[in-house]
Subunit: 338 residues, 2 copies
């Protein structure tokens, strides 16, 4: 299939097809639409590298995802990709392991591809000024506020929930159901990321309710894998069978914790309640259904892209968007056993 | 941060830094490594669009994923992206809805970006010759064999399990446990994709065991969503409480079916066994643990990329790789109730 076939099919000159494909103005609307229809119908692929070189990769956006194994990110990635497509941008996805440094990965991406902007999904919240400078193009932290870093708020954007407030809310739910032996299941209390913030909310909720912090009930897993969450919960239940509730900082960890509870014969929520934050699709189908604070995943993706586009196109300055969760009332929250 | 800062930091001329960045041969190894270290350390980003234009987007590979909501694809996408990175390629991800046509999406991608090759993840198995021609660059069908299409095997590659054989195997497992009232939960018996093939395996296993096909036990959901799988199972159990086993063509559908079984008071596997194909991480944590034929997800991604690279670089012709599943013995397979 060549440009000549398209021209023959439409009964126009090759140069006319070329003008249509190159968006020249001197083609009648009817001819233009006839040619474009034929291009589609015949599956013609313009094979003009020089033109592609100039047109194609100009509007590329990088998406750096840390810990993409988490199904929580899937709808966010899909939404960002859809919005990119609609706006005529290409999305280049770069996934990095949980332990890797997304800023240097982002800087490398910027250096090796021609990017107009970057979105960081997941990751650390402590980018330094030097790291911010290393990016050198507009960027948005999605599900990340960078509140531990010293970046000037005006040099980047962020779109996320208020992790501290939501951690507080989840813990308060358990306290309101009479729980005092509340374990928190998280990556690390000093991960400079969501675990640390949600843990701070947990602590404050305990303080406000007059419940002393019990270090044994702080279950750190070192990573976000389900296998680590499972093993850590199992060990905690053996050491401290008086636990009556678990606040997991992520749905996936909560699902692993429920499996551990089940395997040691703790009924949920009879013997132990479980509350989480995220709201991934699959946690609607766990047995029992997980009670969780649902993040607006599509909206997070949409806002991240919209914010980035505004900054790239200069229609608005960097901004920091906070979104709310909504409680999905599942079946894992009950009164504390006495 | 400019090229001058890098030069000053290293104590070399600006032109030397430039030569290193442009891979000119006339720089000593020590100077080269000193400059590259400084570039990394100072987070210097070369700001030379002309050079980027020529160098950067040349080696781009497109990945078209249909139904990316399925967590089954996550490790495959991650693996392909990692291998691309290692080989110096950029991966452009394009996700399309389950109902969309990946071939025309792929052709558009090829037309609008400069791609060296394409990987289709998921999707139809019935590409026509014209559709194959429309791609115009090397492509690999991953988890897809295109066996319903009329493409010449030499014009594309594929990497997948043998869906027919694995459907047979899953059904045979249930038959060997004494089941005869075996429901099959799938998208559609005529989806020209994995459902149709795994269903054919199911039918053949029944035939070989002398069990007549019972149309009531063929549970079509029209799509791969968990909500549809849940609703369809619920309706089937009401209409046909004599069902003693379910073969779900995907883990995610099996998890939804288990929820439906639970909600109508069917114990698993006491009242009803469940067997699936896929082996996503989360199905290790369902209660009870899902018994499933695990696809080698990382290997699927690795083989897909390796095959594409061989074809792009001309080191090997198109090939068709079949991989085996391995049985994960969970807790959802039991003897048929009598």
């Amino acid at each position: 299939m060549t440009i000549k076939d398209v021209a023959a099919y439409c009964g126009v000159a090759v140069s006319t097809v070329s003008r249509v494909l190159n968006n020249h103005p001197d083609v009648s609307p009817e001819t233009r639409s006839r040619v474009l229809e034929a291009v589609d119908k015949l599956h013609y692929i313009p094979n003009n590298s020089a033109r592609d070189l100039v047109m194609a990769p100009a509007d590329t956006i990088g998406l750096v995802v840390r810990g993409a194994e988490n199904p929580f990110y899937t709808p966010i990635i899909r939404t960002i990709e859809e919005r990119c497509e609609e706006a005529g941008y290409t999305m280049v996805l770069h996934q990095i392991p949980v332990g890797a440094d997304e800023i240097s990965a982002g800087a490398t991406l910027v250096r090796s591809k021609r990017l107009k902007g970057l979105i960081f999904l997941g990751g650390r919240f402590d980018y330094s000024r030097a790291e911010g400078d290393a990016i050198g193009i507009p960027f948005v932290c999605c599900t990340n506020t960078n509140q531990f870093g010293d970046l000037d708020k005006s040099v980047y954007s962020s779109v996320s929930i208020d992790d501290y407030a939501e951690g507080y809310k989840a813990t308060k739910l358990l306290i309101d159901h009479g729980h005092t032996k509340i374990a928190v299941l998280l990556d690390s209390v000093r991960d400079h990321s969501i675990s640390e913030l949600r843990y701070a909310g947990y602590r404050q909720a305990l303080v406000d309710a007059g419940i002393p912090l019990d270090e044994d009930l702080v279950l750190e897993t070192v990573d976000f894998t389900m296998s680590a969450a499972y093993a850590r919960t199992l060990a905690a239940l053996e050491a401290r069978p008086d636990i009556t509730a678990i606040f997991a900082v992520a749905d996936s960890m909560a699902i692993a914790a429920m499996k551990a509870l089940h395997n040691v014969g703790f009924s949920v929520p009879g013997a132990c309640s479980v509350v989480a934050i995220d709201g991934i699709e699959i946690s609607q189908y766990t047995i029992p259904t997980l009670t969780t604070l649902v993040q607006p995943q599509e909206t997070l993706g949409e806002e991240a892209f919209k914010t980035l586009l505004d900054v790239i196109e200069g229609t608005a300055p960097n901004r920091h968007v906070r979104l709310e969760t909504s409680l999905r009332e599942g079946e894992t929250l009950g009164k504390a056993r006495s």
